[in-house]
């Protein structure tokens, strides 16, 4: 494995005088499951928002598959094959589960801004939507309004929307936040399944999930990466233990 999916060089972001990301260098290989951890306020979500185009960068470069993508619009980055979920559930609450997934498919299946095709008549589209519903185990909720689903179901649906377009880089922002133990187990299995052969970047607080799922872990503290390595090495890293993990890891394992 040598191909780089995402490469950050000297990435900086400040809001006014507040520097949130202070020079991040990070490269994530294709097909890798990469977790970003760090204490609250370290800038994990900001980093996410920079990569996905929600925020403008203040300095440095972001490369996706070797091409610079900094300061592109979210939809342009998405069209290059990167898809993300959100920390706070971000779905289309007034649409059915089926329609939610279908929205995630429309662009990549080539419908774009078409106003001369009727979505209900597109057999391939409905078929693919049902396949994804099957994949996230929500076929039986197909015709429910997304807004009435339980929290855990909405999170699963959001992962479904995120992967629907077939992006090869999937970024998940705290996918298990606020979930019970058994729900977390389910969602971890779901994530493992749907990100097969894809690059996964996730921010996560649950150390069990992180060490269970990730191939590599980066630790972000005060806007800088202090370690980026395999789970074993990160756990052993003295700097990491001092700065952040310490007791948390011992307690979990």
């Amino acid at each position: 494995m040598s191909e780089i999916a995402i490469e950050l060089q000297g990435l900086r972001k400040n809001f006014g005088f507040a520097e949130i990301i202070r020079g991040v260098d990070l490269s994530i290989e294709k097909g890798e499951r990469h977790a970003i951890i760090g204490p609250n306020g370290a800038g994990k979500s900001t980093l996410f928002n920079l990569i996905t185009g929600k925020f403008h960068v203040s300095g440095g470069t972001i490369k996706m598959h070797g091409d610079p993508v900094e300061n592109l619009k979210p939809f342009e980055i998405n069209r290059r094959g990167l898809s993300r979920s959100f920390q706070i559930t971000n779905i289309f609450p007034k649409m059915t589960v089926f329609e939610n997934i279908r929205c995630g498919l429309l662009w990549t299946m080539g419908y774009k801004y078409s106003f001369w095709t009727l979505v209900n008549r597109q057999a391939g589209l409905s078929e693919r939507t049902d396949e994804i519903l099957e994949q996230i185990n929500m076929s039986d909720r197909r015709n429910e309004l997304a807004g009435v689903l339980t929290y855990a179901e909405q999170r699963a649906l959001e992962i479904g929307i995120t992967i629907a377009g077939g992006a090869d880089i999937i970024m998940l922002d705290e996918p298990t936040a606020g979930m019970s133990h058994s729900e977390t187990e389910n969602i971890v299995e779901l994530i493992r399944g749907v990100t097969e052969d894809k690059t996964l970047v996730m921010v996560e607080h649950d150390m069990g999930v992180v060490f269970n799922l990730a191939d590599r872990i980066s630790v972000l503290v005060y806007g800088q990466i202090i370690a980026s390595d395999t789970p074993e090495n990160v756990r052993a890293d003295v700097n990491v233990q001092e700065a952040y993990l310490g007791t948390a890891i011992d307690a979990e394992h």
């Binding site: 996905t52 929600k54 619009k73 979210p74 939809f75 998405n78 069209r79 898809s83 993300r84 959100f86 971000n90 779905i91 289309f92 609450p93 007034k94 649409m95 329609e99 279908r102 929205c103 995630g104 429309l106 662009w107 990549t108 419908y111 774009k112 801004y113 078409s114 106003f115 001369w116 095709t117 009727l118 979505v119 209900n120 008549r121 057999a123 409905s126 078929e127 049902d130 099957e134 076929s139 039986d140 197909r142 929307i161 377009g165």
Partner: protein, 430 residues
């Protein structure tokens, strides 16, 4: 699981352009529209029906923005008005310059003009939804309304411009001099436009308009530019508003500043909201009810706008999903087979309700008469009774009636609410 799969597989195979069950309501509408002039033969009825049809198209076009796309426009009369003005100019060119254009095609050109204008305005107004869009629409609306007085060549100044629809080449032997012929032309465009707008909402961009309305951020991360999605909806809406303007031009043969101004933009917002923005048929119901009330009430009272305003307020406060939402609410008790539970409380509520509405409006009418009638003119009549509007005893009776019935309504509302909960109650599955 297997059942679901079969279901979806079934619907996959049977996906014709439009199914029988989908076509049925449209067929009923077409038959209904064709029969209407047989039932209502008077000229006044035809005028009202034409007015309704125009308002329906306009309201549906407006709801492409408000209901489907989440864009609140305060200046949508501009697109209908400009389409209409353009059509009157075309009619005059037919008459004086020998332009060959059959009248039935005129609304299409009105639509194109509305579209061109929406293309121009949309490039900057659809950048953001919400307040920014609303403010730009208000500004553009005022701008165009103001320039209608200034640009006399196109808008004809204060008296507007007028034309004659009968001067074009005859189509199928029709010259559209009679109201009835115009009615069928209007109905034809009504069906075509409504169907086209319905189908638009089922296309990828129509679905994404809903997605952007609900969650623009999510839509962006699915590869769609929220701005482009809004822009396309906006242009489509401008096109259909222009068609409505073209039909208006054919019907009334005159357009003035009134067709562009804020009052017209405001009333279409009112109509759409009254009918219910969340439903495709909402604006249709809103347009029918509004036009009907407007025409009928204005025959009997000078303060009809007050009543329409009150109706609008009550709708917004108590039934935010509009009249259509009110009907749709009753689908659930109906499906549960408990709709009969509601009949009695509704009937019980009806009597004080009607008394309350009548006595309260009497109070307003008497007060209005006492205040505004010519000096010395103290006699008025209401609901067939004649009386002196300065009679204190009468005032008292009406006041007591309206307060009393209002109080009774409030008390009975508790029972209605209980019956409503009961009718919507689903036995928990064990």
């Amino acid at each position: 699981m297997s059942v679901v799969k079969q279901d979806s597989a079934g619907s996959r195979i049977a996906n014709p352009l439009i199914t029988v069950s989908q076509f049925a309501p449209w067929f009923v509408v077409i038959v209904f529209l064709s029969l209407l002039p047989v039932i209502f033969t008077s000229g006044a009825a035809l005028t009202i029906m034409n007015q309704m049809a125009i308002t329906i198209i306009f309201a549906l076009a407006y709801n492409m923005l408000l209901g489907q796309g989440g864009m609140l426009s305060f200046g949508h009369a501009v697109y209908m008005g400009l389409g209409g003005f353009f059509c009157v100019h075309l009619m005059n060119m037919i008459e004086y310059d020998g332009l060959w254009l059959p009248l039935p095609l005129l609304p299409f050109f009105g639509g194109l003009f509305g579209l061109v204008f929406a293309l121009i305005i949309g490039t900057f107004s659809t950048r953001r939804a919400g307040t920014v869009f609303a403010m730009i629409s208000l500004g553009v609306g005022e701008l165009i309304a103001a320039s209608s007085i200034i640009v006399v060549v196109f808008f004809g100044g204060e008296e507007g411009i007028s034309g004659d629809r009968t001067m074009g080449p005859e189509t199928f032997g029709l010259d559209f001099a009679s109201q009835l012929e115009v009615y069928y032309l209007t109905a034809f465009w009504l069906v075509i436009s409504a169907l086209a707008m319905y189908l638009f909402s089922r296309t990828p961009v129509g679905r994404m308009a809903n997605a952007v309305r609900d969650n623009e951020e999510r839509a962006e991360f699915l590869g769609y530019s929220q701005r482009n999605v809004r822009f396309i909806s906006f242009c489509a809406s401008g096109f259909f508003a222009g068609i409505a303007g073209g039909i208006f031009a054919i019907n009334f043969e005159i357009l003035t500043e009134e067709n562009l101004n804020l009052a017209t933009s405001g009333s279409i917002l009112l109509i759409t909201f009254l009918g219910g923005v969340g439903f495709f048929v909402g604006p249709i119901i809103g347009a029918i009810v509004f036009t009907f009330l407007q025409t009928v009430l204005s025959l009997y009272t000078e303060i009809w706008q007050l009543y329409l305003g009150t109706l609008f307020l009550l709708t917004v406060m108590f039934f935010p999903f509009g009249l259509t939402g009110l009907i749709a609410m009753h689908m659930r008790p109906y499906q549960l087979g408990k709709i009969s539970l509601l009949v009695k409380p509704y009937l019980r509520m009806a009597i004080p309700g009607i008394v309350c509405v009548l006595s309260f409006s009497s109070l307003l009418e008497i007060a209005f008469h006492a205040k505004h009638a010519a000096i010395g003119e103290e006699h008025m009549s209401l609901f067939g009774f004649g009386f002196n509007s300065y009679n204190i005893l009468l005032w008292l009776v009406v006041l007591v009636l309206s307060i009393g019935s209002g109080w009774l309504c409030k008390r009975l509302a508790v029972g209605v609410r209980e019956a409503w909960d009961e009718a919507n109650f689903v036995e928990p599955r064990s």
